[in-house]
Amino acid sequence: MPIHEQSLIRPENLTTHDQLVVDGVDVSGHWSTFIQSRVVTDYNEAMQDEIAALPGGENVHRCWQCGSCTNSCTVNAINPEFNPRHWIYLVRIGMESEILRDKDIIWQCVSCNKCTYACPRDVVPEGVMKALSHWLELKGHVKPSPSMVFDEVFSEQVFQHGKIEEGRVMQRFFKRTGQSLNQPWLIEMMRRMLRHLPVGMLTKLGLATLVAPRTSGWSGARAAIEEYVHEQEHKRRRALGLDALIEAAKRDAGPVTAGEGARS
């Protein structure tokens, strides 16, 4: 299987002179093309450990760069810039700055697990994509992606009530991401849905958006889940050294007194 290549030479690092004579030899045009040297010093040596500390990223160290994940990837077929093999490589060598160039597309992984199916090293690339998206958000490199907002809206409902109701999830998601429900295709879909639905069913769906379906006797489970979520959040922040960062930032900002903003 081919390794899907990703050139590490960027167009802006290529130099070509239209008019150039060196030692009496005319090297105008492509004869004078050269690659500017680039020295990388800002490795994040902890990057692989940071990803491994997040759910899904545990096996990232196993990758041997065969490229099967990218080769089988659903999203790569649509957008060649989406390259799990390449990102796993960057994670392993700690090239944080290079990963950040793709920070706005990493979340697009559709979790189809074709990569997981193809990977000979049990890296679970799908998990690594999730861990990486999570990492970008935790480190403040990106705002929560629409997909993460959706996960949150959905999970909140499950944790609260034990069950979800799709209409509710949809409404909240559209609201939180600031999208309108008034989109022609959505309306057409509703129209087709309403065409034949029996009235009883409609009332039921309508009621469900007002009164969420719930699993009875869920309060014990809810409390247990909430406690666990807090504990895990704390663990992850510690693994990424986030609390220390925030403490340091607070110290630098100096004491904040009442009536005075953090910034002067």
Binding site: Y117, D151, E188, M189
Partner: protein, 311 residues
């Protein structure tokens, strides 16, 4: 020794959230087909959502816990051996929880802690067997058994069978698949083909059986989902299919919704109809279109089915 046939006569039924909402027609047709085939379904008491794909992204162990609670209730409160889920998501998550609880001590510890706090029995790996609606009919009745019970036929209807992602991937959570003749294949699944074929359909050679419809981002990255779905619809039409048969509420609603979206937003109409395999089986078993909820689908296929003499 009890065979799968005996074991599957009466199973715990886990419909999941989607079947209580938009996929009502899948719920209804599954139950009706069960009745017509003489298979008993007992709904899992007071079930909860398995966590779908979303909870896993918040924390995978929570998803394991949510799924384990469903299995714990089936095993300890209902004394059932088999849990049947018609939703790929639910089926996948229960299988995944089963695998994790058999192999990962941390998952066992977390599930035990949460179950105790929540006040119910802790699920232990091996207490129940989780199966998909396809396994249920395939092993509980079989192709020959189905043929004997037919009241009609799918009349050579050309079908592309669409299984989606979660029914076969990742392979390690489905240890019973890929075991040779008679078992399901993860690279080229065929149970739905076999059953619909027995009911008189002609299965077209469909290369995208396990392609992804982008269901994870159906709302958060709709353009991506529309592209992926359009690919699937076009491939089915190119293979000569009149109908795409589905076996998962999420795949099904993804195809329906983005078929509309592709047409309305990108001016790319497709004609292929989308029906649950249980709806098709139900029709061949002599049930009325209303009984299997054909009118509840977004993809309007009633007229077409009448024309074909199937409904």
């Amino acid at each position: 020794m009890t065979t799968a046939k005996d074991k599957y006569q009466k199973v715990a039924y886990y419909p999941g959230c989607a079947l209580e909402g938009t996929a009502h027609s899948y719920n209804r047709s599954t139950q009706e087909v069960g009745k017509a085939l003489g298979l008993d379904l007992v709904e899992v008491k007071n079930w909860n959502c398995c966590g779908a794909m979303e909870v896993k992204n918040i924390d995978p162990k929570l998803q394991t816990y949510l799924s384990s609670r469903v299995m714990a209730i089936a095993a300890t409160e209902m004394k059932m051996d088999v849990v049947m889920a018609p939703c790929n998501g639910c089926y996948h998550n229960l299988k995944k929880a089963e695998y994790d609880l058999a192999h990962d001590p941390t998952s066992v510890e977390v599930v035990d802690r949460l179950s105790q706090k929540a006040g119910h029995a802790t699920y232990e790996a091996g207490q129940v067997e989780t199966i998909h609606a396809l396994d249920w009919i395939m092993h509980g009745i079989g192709e020959d058994g189905l043929k004997q019970r037919l009241k009609g036929s799918l009349q050579g209807l050309k079908v592309a069978n669409y299984y989606g992602c979660m029914y076969t991937r990742p392979r390690h959570i489905f240890p019973e698949k890929d075991k040779g003749p008679g078992t399901e294949s993860t690279s080229k699944p065929h149970y739905m083909d076999d059953l619909l074929g027995a009911a008189g359909a002609v299965n077209v050679e469909f290369p995208l059986k396990t392609a992804c419809c982008g269901g994870a981002h159906t709302l958060s990255d709709s353009d991506m989902s529309t592209k992926l779905v359009l690919n699937i619809l076009r491939a089915a039409e190119a293979a000569g299919a009149e109908v795409i048969a589905t076996e998962c509420p999420t795949c099904h609603s993804g195809l329906e919704m983005h078929q509309v979206r592709a047409e309305k937003k990108f001016g790319q109409p497709t004609k292929v109809k989308i029906l649950y395999f249980t709806q098709l089986l139900g029709l061949a078993l002599g049930l009325s279109p209303r009984q299997v909820g054909v009118h509840e689908n977004i993809s309007d296929s009633l007229g077409f089915l009448r024309e074909k003499g199937i409904a």
